[in-house]
Assembly symmetry: none
DNA sequence: AGGTTTCATGAGTAAAACGCATGGATGGAA
DNA sequence: TTCCATCCATGCGTTTTACTCATGAAACCT
């Protein structure tokens, strides 16, 4: 049992090591932990003595972790975070602590999820649970507090917040247009087109907006995911009509080029939608404010 | 900062709660931790006071965890194991090795994980990494040394070790059967039944085995998790057909009672499965021997 | 009824956590 | 080179925490 206790250092000593790893000095760690430098120094020594391993390299005025200690503290950090989160969750009140959010897979993964750590940092007491929903649903029968959705659905009893306008761009691999984009949109009808199942009329609407009469049905292949389509385009299998936020990188690297030099067309927008009955719930209000700031940051930064 | 410290209970108190959850009594927990019952009792109270939440239900001579505490201790157990493993690894010699194990979530958490500290104690040089896999996979393409699986899959090139036979028991809250279990299984048809999505025919198969003709579809509610169902049963929402290893504690504490006094039916078994090509690896061999002893201990101790 | 087991709690002791003060070493600016 | 600021280790003292022993009440079983 004495060996067993050796495996469980105190929370205080583990937190001291974790903070030292992040902040680089015992004094800074002490500040963060609201302790004195002396207490931190002692905890580090206590930890070394208990584990029987040298964890700290003492170099002049500096303390650094040994390589073994760096590996160790990476594990410990996870454990400490898990303990803190579990302890926090004990206090969750059903009214305010958890938001159940319905999301669209592509926009959710590409736009929302990369931004969520920022929300978690600002609001550590609010948990966001996400489930995929591809169509509008009845908020009265589905257990969701809000939804991210495309377009302006006729969704009674709800309010909404514009998140991002979607602009679609016809793009293809450079090899498919060796002479550059055609001056006439109708030229694209001579190339294979890539269609997405969920928006069967997207290309026809686009041609109509360019003043081009298109045959029906349009030639080309159909796929069920934007990611499939963008990869097919990159590999020269056709021209794709894709939302700008999905292709920024490929355009920047030249793997894709604009297939038409006319104006980029707006095809719709993404909204946060929520039932009016939940408008005043504190966590939903916080989430909306945060999302509004994210949406605003998107519009003001140069793209 | 005072609130911050509230998120980090002491290791001692967390270990006391974890042991109580597994062993069912403060005295047994004290034995395992080489402490007195008095110390365990105090740590549990200290933990409740620090977190500001009731964690223990004190019923006559018995201590049981509240539902919230059960969720909590599941997280804490992972953290404690991670800390112990990380601490062990500081002393590890490369010769010991690491085992990558694919597990089923419920059986892994309820049967295996609580036993792993024993393995860690006996083999401090062997690390067990666990990942969840719900279906058989190809050992040649997935980075696993072994897997725990349910049933007897036709899994070519592998050997296996029987770990535990799964017996299901119809159980419910005592209030649902004030006169005790019925003599005739068909009487259960008058009560609401709790079904699990993944085994839609479980109840029908069970009634057939009792020689009872059951209507189709059977009445009751459907849930997607065993834990949801066992809690619904505890709260008197119906009769559940649950694997014995999931309900031992609830049966021992009287929160659930057997809803039928006939023979317990076997519904399948859990196995350790591993590729023949890895049969002679020392760490896997040690793990198998240890698992075999655990499985044997399960079969010989009265339950 | 008697014996055993279980948990909570009073009281006391030992160990751990922490702060204050101090000293030595280091680093930077004048 | 001197002076000042910063950093860490350590002596010492205080407070807090962890733990044991003993006890009593309740329960459980024979």
């Amino acid at each position: 049992m004495e060996t067993k206790r050796r495996l469980f250092p105190s929370i205080s000593s583990l937190r001291a090591l974790e903070a030292l790893d992040r902040l680089g000095s015992a004094s800074a760690a002490a500040d963060e932990l609201s302790l004195t430098q002396s207490a931190v120094s002692r905890q580090l020594q206590t930890l070394e003595a208990q584990l029987g391993v040298r964890l700290i390299q003492r170099d002049r005025k500096r303390l650094t972790l040994t390589p073994a200690a760096q590996d160790y503290v990476a594990e410990i950090r996870q454990s400490l975070n898990q303990i803190a989160q579990a302890s926090l969750r004990l206090h969750v009140t059903p009214a305010g602590g958890t938001l159940h959010l319905a999301i669209l897979p592509t926009f959710g993964m590409r736009w929302l999820v990369p931004r969520l750590p920022d929300f978690a940092r600002l609001h550590p007491d609010i948990t966001i649970n996400m489930s995929t929903r591809l169509r509008p649903f009845n908020f009265a029968t589905e257990p969701f507090d809000a939804a991210i959705h495309f377009g302006e659905p006729d969704w009674p009893g709800t309010e909404r917040l514009l998140l991002k306008v979607e602009r679609v761009v016809p793009v293809c691999a450079p090899t498919l247009l060796p002479s550059g984009p055609p001056g006439n949109a109708a030229e694209l009808l001579k190339l294979p087109l890539l269609h997405i199942q969920t928006r069967p009329r997207a290309w026809q609407d686009w041609f109509a907006q360019q003043g081009v009469t298109s045959p029906s049905p349009l030639p080309g292949t159909v796929h069920d995911q934007f990611t499939t389509i963008s990869q097919a385009a990159v590999h020269g299998l056709g021209v794709a009509l894709l939302p700008n936020y999905l292709i920024e990188q490929d355009l920047a690297t030249g793997r894709l080029v604009a297939a038409y030099s006319g104006a980029v067309e707006t095809m719709g927008a993404y909204y946060l939608v929520w039932p009016q009955s939940k408008s005043d719930e504190p966590s939903l209000r916080e989430f909306r404010h945060w999302l509004a700031s994210q949406a605003q940051a998107d519009e003001t930064l140069p793209r």
